[in-house]
């Protein structure tokens, strides 16, 4: 909230800041040109580079971790530019303040509801300043297309197009409005003269950037809405796509670390002799919270590390076991000081006055979850000539830079961050939870000037994650004589990540929702769709309980609580219709439905499930309906929703991180079974034609999956799932509730 008031406050006085800002900003602009252009290349509108060979390169202030956004954002730029798609490329923007993502700042503040243009430079200036101020170059919150694309790449490309047209008009001495642009060529229809972008770029780059370029109407789009082959796909089928873990530098060393099993613990001592004797080992380095081995190869480092028997403290341990965790959760739910985040009418009075037979209560729990991206965490660092250079697949290049500045004690100008693609991340590799960077700084400093690549073994990566927090909620509702809810009271635990997703989409006249902060010593972070993961499960399961308690069909019940024609109701109805809701299923099978909005996108999912002979769930089919506003690359959009559903089902079914003696018990995939191909159901996704504001797509497929599956199991078996993962709830493991 402080950030928002900072921005609005600055906007009010921005006129007075403009002059000083301009000089400051011009230095960044010069810096940007130096950073990304070479011989025969020109930077237009800050983000688009055009070469004399006609190649158009769109600079992307995001990390590619599989979402396909390099292609989608380049398409949005190419559309407004009227570029020839075969000449368009995408490249990671440098991790420098010159490429801070002002479009994200703007998107977050306005939530994408304003017209995507920069009508006045003052607003733009404020967002630019804010983005640099808060080191904004993050990939998260499903923002790339809806904020960076809509408010950023389209606008800068439209500006660049206007500059190219202006350059041609000046060259030919004709008014710009009579010129046309198609496939990277500017044409004067009156004379038949043509000029390719590559021949105009140098002159265009000298022109000032128009502040209010005309954007195309949706009806004029030719590329956006098509699904050209993603840039990255061919190299991801032949082994040539380079991830951070594949980086090779001259003279590079390799490091492996083992950190304190209890998060926050310190290294008390370690006998380093056994490891030093192994071939290839260069150094054993005791660190504050870990011990590291540096060797000529990672396999040697890792093998030597296995010989060590370090002693760690368990400083700051708050809970030792799962039973401790639940006790702490119950205590916080019962008596924790909370913040009321929603008040509507008088929920406690409505519940007090309701007949006991019409009052319903339930406690729900969710476990810690691990990201388990397929590329194990790794990072490469070099101290040389007073400069720290970093290479890695972090989701926020500027946040990473800030953490490295703080940890190294170097000036920001002496820290260089090179962003590399990541083999998945799902919210893991973000500076606030990037504890591994703290290990690498002293390791690389000790080995200077040689570069060092640190790879976390899968075991280290599992036990030192930044987990979706383990949380719980208590919900109470009262129903009227028709079975419709009159009151909803909820107390929920909120983890250290963003407090979001607590609003319920349904019209219930009396609501009181209280958030209680809850943290343990276990490191937590942002897990794909963040707080929506638990809230969607809680809200949509409890609404389902109320529907069944009232004897109504769960779809009808929800529809009755949603305004006719609303985005929420439309996705619900379309998912149900396409899934054949109400049609007969084989005995022992059931359908469940759930609805959730996250990051501006509405998603409803219907799951069909039965129990196998082993009494474990078999998921047969998932049908989703999605309203995300518009689509840039429909096939990539589909991939994101398919993947989100699978990750959501996987987590709901079996995933959990648990504690033993305060340390994480799961060390690798065999004890953290994620969904695999044989168990993956048929998935159908329907995108709605929508003129609503654009929402994100990387995360919104996830939240409805768990409650839709749990609701389907209730329909199939009569068993209500109030704790995840589902296999624990079914087997009675993991305690009560």
């Amino acid at each position: 909230m402080r950030r928002r008031s900072f921005l609005i406050g600055s906007a009010a006085i921005a006129g007075g800041l403009a002059v000083g800002y301009r000089a400051w900003s011009q230095s960044f602009e010069r810096n940007a040109v130096d950073l990304v252009t070479g011989e025969g290349e020109h930077l237009l509108a800050g983000w688009i580079r055009i070469g004399t060979d006609d190649t158009v390169t769109v600079l992307i202030p995001h990390v590619d971790m599989g979402q396909g956004i390099y292609t989608a954002l380049a398409m949005m730029a190419a559309e407004e530019l009227d570029a020839d798609w075969s000449t368009v490329r995408a490249e990671r923007a440098p991790g420098e303040k010159a490429f801070a993502n002002r479009f994200l700042a703007r998107g977050w503040v306005t939530q994408g509801f304003d017209v995507p243009r920069f009508a006045d430079r003052i607003t733009d200036m404020v967002f630019t300043e804010a983005a640099r101020f808060v080191n904004l170059q993050i990939t998260g919150g499903s923002t790339a297309v809806r904020f960076t694309g809509q408010a950023g790449m389209r606008v800068v490309a439209a500006a660049a197009r206007q500059m190219l047209v202006e350059a041609a008009a000046r060259r030919w001495g004709v008014p710009p409005r009579q010129l046309t642009v198609r496939d990277g060529v500017v044409t004067d229809p009156s004379s038949g003269q043509t000029a390719r972008f590559g021949t105009l770029a140098e002159e265009a780059a000298r022109l000032s950037v128009p502040s209010n370029p005309r954007l195309k109407k949706r009806s004029e789009w030719r590329l956006v809405g098509a699904s050209p082959l993603r840039f990255d796909i061919p190299a991801k089928t032949d082994g040539t796509f380079g991830y951070g873990i594949d980086l090779q530098l001259p003279d590079m060393l390799h490091a492996a670390v083992r950190s304190a099993p209890v998060h926050g613990g310190r290294l008390l001592g370690v006998d380093t002799e056994s490891a030093k004797a192994l071939p290839g080992v260069e150094r054993v380095i005791p660190l504050e919270r870990a011990v590291a081995v540096v060797a000529a190869s990672w396999w040697q480092a890792s093998r030597a590390l296995d010989l060590l028997d370090p002693e760690f403290s368990a400083d700051g341990i708050t809970i030792s076991t799962q039973a401790d965790l639940e006790r702490a959760q119950d205590e916080a739910l019962e008596s924790g000081e909370g913040e009321t985040v929603v008040t509507l009418g008088d929920a406690s009075e409505a519940i007090r006055s309701a007949d006991a037979s019409r009052r319903f209560e339930a406690t729900y729990r969710v476990p810690y979850l691990h990201h388990a991206a397929m590329e194990p965490i790794n990072a490469t660092m070099q101290f040389a000539d007073g400069v720290l250079t970093f290479w890695g697949g972090e989701q926020d290049a500027l946040g990473t830079k800030a953490r490295l500045v703080e940890r190294s004690g170097l000036a920001a100008s002496k820290v260089v961050v090179h962003g590399l693609p990541a083999g998945g991340s799902f919210g893991r590799r973000i500076a606030p939870s990037a504890d591994y960077l703290d290990h690498l700084v002293p390791i690389a400093r000790a080995m200077a000037p040689r570069p060092v690549k640190l790879i976390l073994s899968r075991e280290e990566e599992f036990t030192h994650g930044a987990y979706r927090p383990a949380l719980a909620t208590q919900m109470t509702a009262a129903l009227d004589a028709d079975g419709m809810p009159t009151a909803w009271m909820q107390r929920y635990l909120n983890g250290p990540t963003r407090n979001e997703a607590f609003h319920i989409p349904y019209s219930i006249p009396n609501q009181e929702i209280v958030s209680i902060d809850f943290a343990t010593h276990v490191q937590t972070g942002t897990w794909r769709s963040v707080a929506h993961t638990q809230h969607a499960f809680w809200t949509e399961s409890f609404v389902d309980e109320l529907a069944h308690a009232s004897g109504r069909d769960p779809l009808d019940y929800r529809r009755m609580l949603l305004p006719e024609g609303s985005r929420a109701r439309r996705v619900l109805e379309i998912a149900a219709e396409r899934a054949g809701w109400g049609e007969a299923l084989p005995p022992g099978s059931g359908r469940g439905i759930a609805l959730a909005e996250s990051y501006g996108t509405w998603v409803a999912e219907v799951v069909e499930v039965s129990l196998g002979e082993d009494s474990m769930p078999r998921i047969h089919r998932v049908v989703a309906a999605v309203d995300c506003g518009g689509l840039v690359h429909p096939d990539t959009a589909l991939q994101q929703v398919e993947g989100g559903i699978i990750m959501g089902l996987s987590a709901a079914l079996r995933e959990k991180i648990t504690l033993e003696d305060g340390a994480v018990a799961q060390t690798n995939f065999p004890d953290y079974p994620v969904l695999r191909l044989p168990e993956t159901p048929k998935i159908e996704v329907h995108f709605l034609d929508s003129d609503g504001p654009w929402g994100g797509l990387g995360e919104p497929g996830v939240p409805p999956a768990a409650p839709a599956l749990a609701n389907a199991l209730f329909a199939a078996t009569g068993r209500r799932i109030r704790r995840l993962p589902i296999i624990d709830a079914l087997s009675g493991e993991g305690g009560r509730a």
Binding site: A235, T237, G239, I245, M374, G423, G424
Partner: protein, 151 residues
Amino acid sequence: MQIDFQINGDNISIEADPAKPLLWILREDLGLTGTKYGCGVAACGACTVHLDGEATRCCVLPVEAVAGRAVTTIEGLAAKGEPHRVQQAWIDARVPQCGYCQSGMIMAAASLLAKTSNPTDAEIDAAITNICRCGTYPRVRAAIRALSEAV
């Protein structure tokens, strides 16, 4: 120890610790980084290569075990610069997201299809047990199906 084996059609002889897993020989000694480290316990399949044509998880395979045998990695799957038909099917079905697991997926699928030109769903289930955290499974199945139908 001196170990002789064939890699992507070439006979090579390397000096290596016999206990070093083939995965790390490929990645660190031979510069073939298309084969990925995923779990180190043969659970995820990111390190799948072909050993005498058979899909094999090489993160737990000591290099001495491949002496005298033929190893094919993702880099060696394509012949004469043309994508292997499984790679082309992956492009056509637009399978990869982050792509990290896909070398292993493709090697597992190529091995399956070499033995069984028209696999049933049950045969696909049995052969493709690799982990993909992005959730590309429906497209992996679709790509294999498309190749089966092409037979």
